[in-house]
């Protein structure tokens, strides 16, 4: 019986290793074309997510505004195009980890605290952000906010002139109405006043290359699920 059990376990391990090799041998952005591989990666990654990622991003993957940890359940990405390769790069080397391979081109300046914008300026910019994100806003303040946005604050340098952001800088798309640190006017005010300098650790080599690839595929797959499916999924 022991031999049989051992044989079964060995066969399982060999089969598992073949899947792992297949996952790593496939170019990251080609993995989603192979549903069986995606299913394998998801099964492998779900417990890893619960163990390593859920503390910040939430067990339901919807993020935690208090920590500035973004929701991973939508298809809105701070860095890269949301493909497996770009997600994997973020997990590999992290965000603002201090090493040069991490995502750290720039950060959000503390416009209020550094005295670049006055209290009134910031409130006007907040109204403009409410406008571009499709919410109720004060017209005159938003117009003034737009002038500041494109003027001395140079917000467009990172968030783009049309406020759609730039995933190279990690500057959020302000028109998407998706907020990492809360989207209420007070939250927006604080983000502009104090700036943002969120970090995420590099997971390489804490996790193996295979585990990171599996997580990247998992996040890619979840981000493309219909919202209803994500809502009903609950804890991964």
């Amino acid at each position: 019986m022991l031999a049989v059990a051992g044989g079964i376990a060995y066969a399982h391990e060999v089969r598992h290793q073949q899947w792992r090799d297949r996952l790593l041998s496939t170019l990251p952005n080609d993995v989603p074309d192979d549903p069986a591989l995606v299913a394998f990666a998801r099964a492998e990654a779900a417990p890893l997510f619960a163990q390593h990622c859920a503390a910040c991003h939430g067990a339901d993957m919807r993020g935690q505004p208090a920590l500035g940890a973004p929701s991973l359940a939508d298809n809105v990405w701070l860095y890269g195009d949301g493909g497996v390769y770009e997600i994997e790069r973020t997990i590999l080397y992290g965000i603002r980890t201090g090493n040069s391979k991490s995502r750290s081109v720039t950060d959000m300046p503390a416009f209020g605290q550094r005295g670049v914008l006055s209290d009134a300026d910031i409130r006007n910019v907040v109204q403009y952000v409410l406008k571009v994100s499709g919410r109720r806003y004060q017209v005159e303040a938003a117009n003034e906010g737009r002038r500041i946005y494109t003027g001395n604050a140079n917000c467009g340098d990172c968030h783009a002139g049309d406020a759609r952001g730039d995933t190279y800088y990690g500057a959020p798309n302000l028109t998407a109405n998706v907020w990492n640190s809360g989207g209420e006017p007070d939250d927006l005010y604080k983000a502009i006043y104090f700036g943002q300098h969120r970090t995420m650790q590099a997971w390489f080599p804490t996790l193996s290359l295979f585990q990171i690839r599996a997580l990247a595929v998992y996040l890619y797959a979840v981000s493309r699920e219909p919202a209803a499916a994500v809502a009903s999924r609950g804890t991964p």
Binding site: M1, P28, R89, L92, R96, G98, R114, F194, G195, H197
Partner: protein
């Protein structure tokens, strides 16, 4: 012709593991068989573990890597990143030649890094040591920077470091000198010069011009200072500590008492004085913020070093102190 199998035939059809198990259980000494087998198996595994050699070197590149350089892997993800950066194209749009060129440069880089480690550059080359030190400092500082200070903390930091925001004072000052002795005025004695200078000071304070003092008392410009507004530290450098101390105490339009210096008796006439002052918080907010962040980084480094020290074994030679 078929018939129901006899009991013996049914026994023959049982699987071999079951038969072995039944046989083991049927024996009187069965209670010791399984533990004994477990012991033998455990000892065998332990022996295998103890005497197994070092892992064999990799002869194939593992999945996820594109090359092995002296057993050190080059990540496929890094190749993609570097190809895209070098060619400004998506990886799948880059030509095979472009990919080859980038991979070659990555392998060269890895070889040089390995060579650097072999040459022990971190031990022998100051620039490498500094780069490593800065790399670690950057890593430990980043998380600190994610916690912005409150306004009260920033203000308290400004109050604590107020002297860092002092503007240097400026002045336009005439330095008149009545030379004593030497080829310039060989017959003049110091007491006589002091007496004349005191009289000149009285006149100047009464409204006489500098030219009047020069013409009637023999004062000349010391030429230590140009007649333009100068920063305090420049004035100090040119006048010397003794005269600068006198000058910095004068207000706009004030005349100093006579001061004896190495070359004669000096009188200082202050045209414009802008004393040093501390910039107010609102005008230097950005500098305060940057300085606070720098200090956060330094604090992070200090804590990191403290932790490393607590975990390190450091032995000093006799007579050495740190």
């Amino acid at each position: 012709m078929s018939a129901a199998p006899a009991d013996g035939q049914a026994a023959v059809r049982r699987s071999w593991p079951r038969r072995m198990l039944e046989r083991a259980l049927a024996r009187p000494g069965r209670s010791s068989v399984l533990p004994l087998a477990a012991v033998v198996l455990g000892l065998t595994l332990a022996a295998l573990g103890m005497f197994r050699g070092a892992p064999a070197p990799l002869v194939e590149v593992p999945p996820g890597y594109v090359a092995l350089v002296n057993q050190k892997g080059v990540l496929e993800s890094d190749l993609i990143s570097q190809v895209e950066n070098a060619t400004m194209k998506r990886f799948d749009e880059a030509t095979p030649e472009e990919k080859r060129r980038v991979l070659r440069s990555m392998i060269d880089e890895e070889l040089l890094v390995q060579r650097a480690l072999l040459l022990d550059l971190p031990e022998t080359t100051i620039e490498v040591r500094e780069a490593m030190q800065q790399g670690v400092e950057a890593q430990v500082a980043e998380p600190y920077w994610s916690l912005p200070p409150s306004d009260a903390e920033l203000r308290a930091y400004y109050d604590k470091t107020r002297s860092d925001y002092t503007n240097d004072g400026t002045m336009i000052v005439h330095d008149l000198v009545m030379h004593v002795g030497g080829f310039q005025n060989a017959n003049q004695s110091t007491p006589q010069a002091l007496s004349d200078a005191a009289d000149a000071v009285y006149r100047l304070r009464s409204g006489a011009s500098v030219d009047y003092a020069k013409e009637h008392y023999g004062f000349v410009d010391s030429n230590r200072l140009p007649a333009v507004e100068e920063l305090d530290f420049v004035v100090k450098m040119r006048l010397g500590d003794k005269l600068f101390e006198v000058a910095s105490a004068l207000g706009n339009g004030e005349i100093s008492d006579p001061v004896v210096d190495v070359d004669g008796v000096h009188v200082l006439v202050m045209d414009i004085r802008r004393p040093a002052s501390v910039a107010d918080f609102s005008s230097v907010r950005d500098k305060v913020y940057q300085a606070y962040r720098r200090e956060q980084g330094e604090r992070a480094t200090a804590e990191n070093v403290r932790l490393l020290r607590s975990q390190a074994e450091i032995i000093l030679a006799p007579g050495q102190e740190e």
